[in-house]
Symmetry: C2
Subunit: 155 residues, 2 copies
Protein backbone atom coordinates (compact mmCIF):
# COMPACT_ATOMS: atom_id res chain seq x y z
CA UNK A 1 0.00 0.00 0.00
CA UNK A 2 1.34 3.33 -1.05
CA UNK A 3 1.08 6.01 1.63
CA UNK A 4 1.31 8.70 -1.06
CA UNK A 5 -2.04 7.57 -2.43
CA UNK A 6 -3.68 8.94 0.69
CA UNK A 7 -1.18 11.66 1.61
CA UNK A 8 0.66 13.11 -1.35
CA UNK A 9 3.94 14.81 -0.35
CA UNK A 10 2.50 18.29 -0.92
CA UNK A 11 -0.32 17.91 1.62
CA UNK A 12 -0.07 18.16 5.38
CA UNK A 13 -2.15 16.20 7.89
CA UNK A 14 -5.12 18.36 9.04
CA UNK A 15 -4.32 17.67 12.69
CA UNK A 16 -0.87 19.20 12.14
CA UNK A 17 -2.32 22.44 10.77
CA UNK A 18 -4.84 22.56 13.63
CA UNK A 19 -2.09 22.00 16.18
CA UNK A 20 -0.03 24.70 14.51
CA UNK A 21 -2.98 27.12 14.57
CA UNK A 22 -3.53 26.45 18.29
CA UNK A 23 0.16 26.98 19.09
CA UNK A 24 0.49 30.16 17.03
CA UNK A 25 -2.65 31.60 18.59
CA UNK A 26 -1.40 30.80 22.08
CA UNK A 27 1.97 32.42 21.43
CA UNK A 28 0.28 35.44 19.86
CA UNK A 29 -1.86 35.92 22.95
CA UNK A 30 1.20 35.58 25.20
CA UNK A 31 2.86 38.37 23.21
CA UNK A 32 -0.24 40.52 23.58
CA UNK A 33 -0.33 39.93 27.33
CA UNK A 34 3.32 40.85 27.60
CA UNK A 35 2.77 44.05 25.62
CA UNK A 36 -0.17 45.02 27.79
CA UNK A 37 1.70 44.36 31.04
CA UNK A 38 4.69 46.30 29.76
CA UNK A 39 2.53 49.31 28.88
CA UNK A 40 0.95 49.19 32.32
CA UNK A 41 4.28 48.76 34.12
CA UNK A 42 5.87 51.74 32.39
CA UNK A 43 2.71 53.83 32.31
CA UNK A 44 2.94 54.41 28.55
CA UNK A 45 0.49 53.55 25.77
CA UNK A 46 2.01 50.73 23.73
CA UNK A 47 2.53 52.85 20.62
CA UNK A 48 4.51 55.42 22.62
CA UNK A 49 6.57 52.68 24.24
CA UNK A 50 7.36 51.11 20.85
CA UNK A 51 8.26 54.52 19.48
CA UNK A 52 10.55 55.30 22.40
CA UNK A 53 12.32 51.99 21.84
CA UNK A 54 13.32 53.11 18.34
CA UNK A 55 15.58 55.73 19.90
CA UNK A 56 17.80 53.02 21.38
CA UNK A 57 21.33 53.82 20.25
CA UNK A 58 20.08 56.60 17.96
CA UNK A 59 20.91 60.22 18.67
CA UNK A 60 17.94 61.66 16.87
CA UNK A 61 15.11 60.62 14.58
CA UNK A 62 12.59 62.41 12.36
CA UNK A 63 8.85 61.64 12.27
CA UNK A 64 9.31 60.35 8.75
CA UNK A 65 11.96 57.83 9.82
CA UNK A 66 9.79 56.72 12.73
CA UNK A 67 6.73 56.28 10.50
CA UNK A 68 8.79 54.07 8.20
CA UNK A 69 10.17 51.93 11.01
CA UNK A 70 6.85 51.57 12.83
CA UNK A 71 5.00 50.87 9.61
CA UNK A 72 2.32 53.48 10.26
CA UNK A 73 1.20 56.64 8.53
CA UNK A 74 3.00 59.86 9.42
CA UNK A 75 -0.03 61.61 10.91
CA UNK A 76 -0.11 58.85 13.51
CA UNK A 77 3.47 59.68 14.50
CA UNK A 78 2.50 63.28 15.24
CA UNK A 79 0.10 62.04 17.94
CA UNK A 80 2.57 59.51 19.37
CA UNK A 81 5.35 62.09 19.59
CA UNK A 82 2.90 64.59 21.13
CA UNK A 83 2.35 62.07 23.92
CA UNK A 84 6.06 61.43 24.49
CA UNK A 85 6.84 65.16 24.43
CA UNK A 86 4.05 65.95 26.89
CA UNK A 87 5.47 63.27 29.21
CA UNK A 88 8.94 64.83 28.95
CA UNK A 89 10.54 61.76 27.39
CA UNK A 90 11.29 63.24 23.96
CA UNK A 91 12.49 66.69 22.91
CA UNK A 92 11.28 68.19 19.64
CA UNK A 93 13.28 70.80 17.73
CA UNK A 94 13.52 72.09 14.18
CA UNK A 95 16.29 70.96 11.87
CA UNK A 96 18.44 74.08 11.23
CA UNK A 97 19.28 72.89 7.70
CA UNK A 98 15.66 72.21 6.71
CA UNK A 99 13.04 73.81 8.89
CA UNK A 100 10.33 71.48 7.62
CA UNK A 101 11.79 68.54 9.49
CA UNK A 102 11.49 67.82 13.22
CA UNK A 103 14.61 66.62 15.01
CA UNK A 104 13.54 64.33 17.86
CA UNK A 105 15.86 63.40 20.73
CA UNK A 106 15.28 61.44 23.96
CA UNK A 107 15.54 63.52 27.13
CA UNK A 108 17.46 62.29 30.18
CA UNK A 109 14.19 61.02 31.63
CA UNK A 110 13.38 59.35 28.32
CA UNK A 111 16.77 57.63 28.26
CA UNK A 112 16.18 56.35 31.79
CA UNK A 113 12.78 54.96 30.88
CA UNK A 114 14.16 53.40 27.72
CA UNK A 115 16.93 51.63 29.65
CA UNK A 116 14.39 50.32 32.15
CA UNK A 117 12.15 49.02 29.34
CA UNK A 118 15.05 47.26 27.64
CA UNK A 119 16.14 45.70 30.91
CA UNK A 120 12.64 44.44 31.68
CA UNK A 121 12.23 42.98 28.21
CA UNK A 122 15.60 41.22 28.38
CA UNK A 123 14.70 39.85 31.81
CA UNK A 124 11.40 38.53 30.48
CA UNK A 125 13.13 36.84 27.53
CA UNK A 126 15.72 35.32 29.85
CA UNK A 127 13.03 33.92 32.12
CA UNK A 128 11.30 32.31 29.18
CA UNK A 129 14.50 30.79 27.79
CA UNK A 130 15.66 29.71 31.24
CA UNK A 131 12.76 27.25 31.38
CA UNK A 132 14.45 25.13 28.70
CA UNK A 133 17.62 23.11 28.55
CA UNK A 134 20.47 24.72 26.58
CA UNK A 135 19.94 22.11 23.87
CA UNK A 136 16.22 22.91 23.63
CA UNK A 137 17.07 26.61 23.48
CA UNK A 138 19.40 26.40 20.53
CA UNK A 139 17.08 24.00 18.70
CA UNK A 140 14.11 26.29 19.37
CA UNK A 141 15.89 29.32 17.96
CA UNK A 142 16.86 27.36 14.87
CA UNK A 143 13.26 26.25 14.31
CA UNK A 144 11.85 29.72 14.97
CA UNK A 145 14.17 31.01 12.27
CA UNK A 146 12.69 28.50 9.82
CA UNK A 147 9.15 29.35 10.90
CA UNK A 148 9.71 33.10 10.61
CA UNK A 149 11.06 32.69 7.07
CA UNK A 150 8.08 30.48 6.13
CA UNK A 151 5.51 32.84 7.57
CA UNK A 152 7.12 35.88 5.98
CA UNK A 153 7.03 34.12 2.64
CA UNK A 154 3.33 33.20 2.94
CA UNK A 155 1.70 35.98 4.98
Amino acid sequence: MNQFALHPPSSIAPDQTERFQRLILGLYQCCQNRIQRQALAFDLPDAELRCLRLFDGKNDLTPKEIALQMGVVKSRITKIIDGLVSKGLIHRSRDPDDSRVSRLRVTTRGAGKLAAINQSLAASNEMILARMTPAQRTALLRHLEVLKASMEAVV
Copy 2:
Protein backbone atom coordinates in the same frame (compact mmCIF):
# COMPACT_ATOMS: atom_id res chain seq x y z
CA MET B 1 39.44 28.01 32.57
CA ASN B 2 35.99 27.32 33.86
CA GLN B 3 33.24 28.52 31.55
CA PHE B 4 30.80 28.55 34.46
CA ALA B 5 32.82 31.35 36.05
CA LEU B 6 31.67 33.63 33.27
CA HIS B 7 28.36 31.98 32.40
CA PRO B 8 26.67 30.27 35.34
CA PRO B 9 24.13 27.63 34.27
CA SER B 10 21.18 29.81 35.23
CA SER B 11 22.10 32.67 32.88
CA ILE B 12 21.55 32.86 29.13
CA ALA B 13 23.88 34.50 26.61
CA PRO B 14 22.61 38.03 25.80
CA ASP B 15 22.83 37.35 22.09
CA GLN B 16 20.43 34.45 22.54
CA THR B 17 17.82 36.64 24.24
CA GLU B 18 18.25 39.29 21.54
CA ARG B 19 17.85 36.72 18.82
CA PHE B 20 14.78 35.38 20.57
CA GLN B 21 13.30 38.88 20.86
CA ARG B 22 13.88 39.51 17.16
CA LEU B 23 12.28 36.20 16.17
CA ILE B 24 9.26 36.62 18.45
CA LEU B 25 8.70 40.16 17.18
CA GLY B 26 8.91 38.99 13.57
CA LEU B 27 6.42 36.19 14.15
CA TYR B 28 4.11 38.54 16.03
CA GLN B 29 4.10 40.94 13.11
CA CYS B 30 3.41 38.10 10.68
CA CYS B 31 0.38 37.15 12.77
CA GLN B 32 -0.80 40.75 12.76
CA ASN B 33 -0.43 40.94 8.99
CA ARG B 34 -2.37 37.74 8.57
CA ILE B 35 -5.15 39.02 10.84
CA GLN B 36 -5.37 42.28 8.91
CA ARG B 37 -5.47 40.55 5.53
CA GLN B 38 -8.10 38.15 6.78
CA ALA B 39 -10.30 40.99 8.03
CA LEU B 40 -9.95 42.72 4.69
CA ALA B 41 -10.59 39.58 2.66
CA PHE B 42 -13.81 38.75 4.52
CA ASP B 43 -14.87 42.35 4.96
CA LEU B 44 -15.27 42.01 8.71
CA PRO B 45 -13.58 43.86 11.56
CA ASP B 46 -11.19 41.46 13.27
CA ALA B 47 -13.18 41.32 16.51
CA GLU B 48 -16.33 40.30 14.62
CA LEU B 49 -14.39 37.69 12.67
CA ARG B 50 -12.91 36.23 15.86
CA CYS B 51 -16.35 36.22 17.44
CA LEU B 52 -17.93 34.48 14.47
CA ARG B 53 -15.25 31.81 14.67
CA LEU B 54 -16.40 30.91 18.18
CA PHE B 55 -19.64 29.60 16.71
CA ASP B 56 -17.78 26.84 14.86
CA GLY B 57 -19.52 23.61 15.85
CA LYS B 58 -21.66 25.40 18.43
CA ASN B 59 -25.40 25.67 17.97
CA ASP B 60 -25.82 28.80 20.05
CA LEU B 61 -23.86 31.01 22.42
CA THR B 62 -24.71 33.75 24.90
CA PRO B 63 -22.90 37.09 25.15
CA LYS B 64 -21.59 36.02 28.54
CA GLU B 65 -20.01 32.85 27.11
CA ILE B 66 -18.49 34.84 24.26
CA ALA B 67 -17.05 37.46 26.61
CA LEU B 68 -15.40 34.69 28.62
CA GLN B 69 -13.92 32.99 25.57
CA MET B 70 -12.73 36.19 23.92
CA GLY B 71 -11.34 37.51 27.19
CA VAL B 72 -13.09 40.86 26.89
CA VAL B 73 -15.68 42.68 28.94
CA LYS B 74 -19.33 41.91 28.16
CA SER B 75 -20.23 45.43 27.05
CA ARG B 76 -17.73 44.95 24.23
CA ILE B 77 -19.60 41.85 23.09
CA THR B 78 -22.82 43.86 22.72
CA LYS B 79 -21.10 46.01 20.08
CA ILE B 80 -19.47 43.06 18.30
CA ILE B 81 -22.75 41.15 18.12
CA ASP B 82 -24.54 44.31 16.95
CA GLY B 83 -22.15 44.36 13.99
CA LEU B 84 -22.62 40.67 13.16
CA VAL B 85 -26.41 40.97 13.48
CA SER B 86 -26.52 44.06 11.25
CA LYS B 87 -24.50 42.11 8.65
CA GLY B 88 -26.99 39.24 8.82
CA LEU B 89 -24.42 36.71 10.04
CA ILE B 90 -25.83 36.14 13.53
CA HIS B 91 -29.40 35.89 14.78
CA ARG B 92 -30.29 37.21 18.21
CA SER B 93 -33.25 35.88 20.21
CA ARG B 94 -34.32 35.73 23.85
CA ASP B 95 -33.89 32.59 25.89
CA PRO B 96 -37.45 31.36 26.68
CA ASP B 97 -36.30 29.93 30.04
CA ASP B 98 -34.55 33.12 31.19
CA SER B 99 -35.50 36.23 29.29
CA ARG B 100 -32.41 38.10 30.50
CA VAL B 101 -30.12 36.02 28.30
CA SER B 102 -29.61 36.40 24.55
CA ARG B 103 -29.49 33.23 22.49
CA LEU B 104 -27.15 33.82 19.53
CA ARG B 105 -27.10 31.58 16.47
CA VAL B 106 -25.27 31.83 13.16
CA THR B 107 -27.51 32.41 10.14
CA THR B 108 -27.09 30.48 6.89
CA ARG B 109 -25.02 33.37 5.54
CA GLY B 110 -22.98 33.38 8.75
CA ALA B 111 -22.31 29.67 8.46
CA GLY B 112 -21.12 30.15 4.88
CA LYS B 113 -18.76 32.93 5.88
CA LEU B 114 -17.48 30.92 8.83
CA ALA B 115 -16.70 27.95 6.60
CA ALA B 116 -14.85 30.18 4.15
CA ILE B 117 -12.80 31.73 6.97
CA ASN B 118 -11.85 28.34 8.37
CA GLN B 119 -10.87 27.12 4.92
CA SER B 120 -8.72 30.16 4.27
CA LEU B 121 -6.99 29.87 7.63
CA ALA B 122 -6.31 26.17 7.12
CA ALA B 123 -4.92 26.90 3.66
CA SER B 124 -2.63 29.59 5.08
CA ASN B 125 -1.34 27.23 7.77
CA GLU B 126 -0.78 24.51 5.20
CA MET B 127 1.21 26.84 2.98
CA ILE B 128 3.42 27.81 5.90
CA LEU B 129 4.02 24.23 6.97
CA ALA B 130 4.52 23.07 3.39
CA ARG B 131 7.70 25.16 3.24
CA MET B 132 9.38 22.73 5.63
CA THR B 133 10.40 19.11 5.43
CA PRO B 134 8.15 16.68 7.35
CA ALA B 135 10.95 16.25 9.90
CA GLN B 136 11.28 20.01 10.41
CA ARG B 137 7.52 20.24 10.77
CA THR B 138 7.20 17.73 13.58
CA ALA B 139 10.28 19.12 15.33
CA LEU B 140 8.91 22.66 15.02
CA LEU B 141 5.57 21.72 16.56
CA ARG B 142 7.35 20.00 19.44
CA HIS B 143 9.47 23.08 20.11
CA LEU B 144 6.53 25.46 19.81
CA GLU B 145 4.77 23.40 22.45
CA VAL B 146 7.75 23.92 24.79
CA LEU B 147 7.89 27.64 23.98
CA LYS B 148 4.16 28.14 24.54
CA ALA B 149 4.38 26.47 27.94
CA SER B 150 7.40 28.60 28.87
CA MET B 151 5.79 31.86 27.77
CA GLU B 152 2.52 31.05 29.49
CA ALA B 153 4.43 30.38 32.68
CA VAL B 154 6.35 33.66 32.52
CA VAL B 155 4.05 36.18 30.81
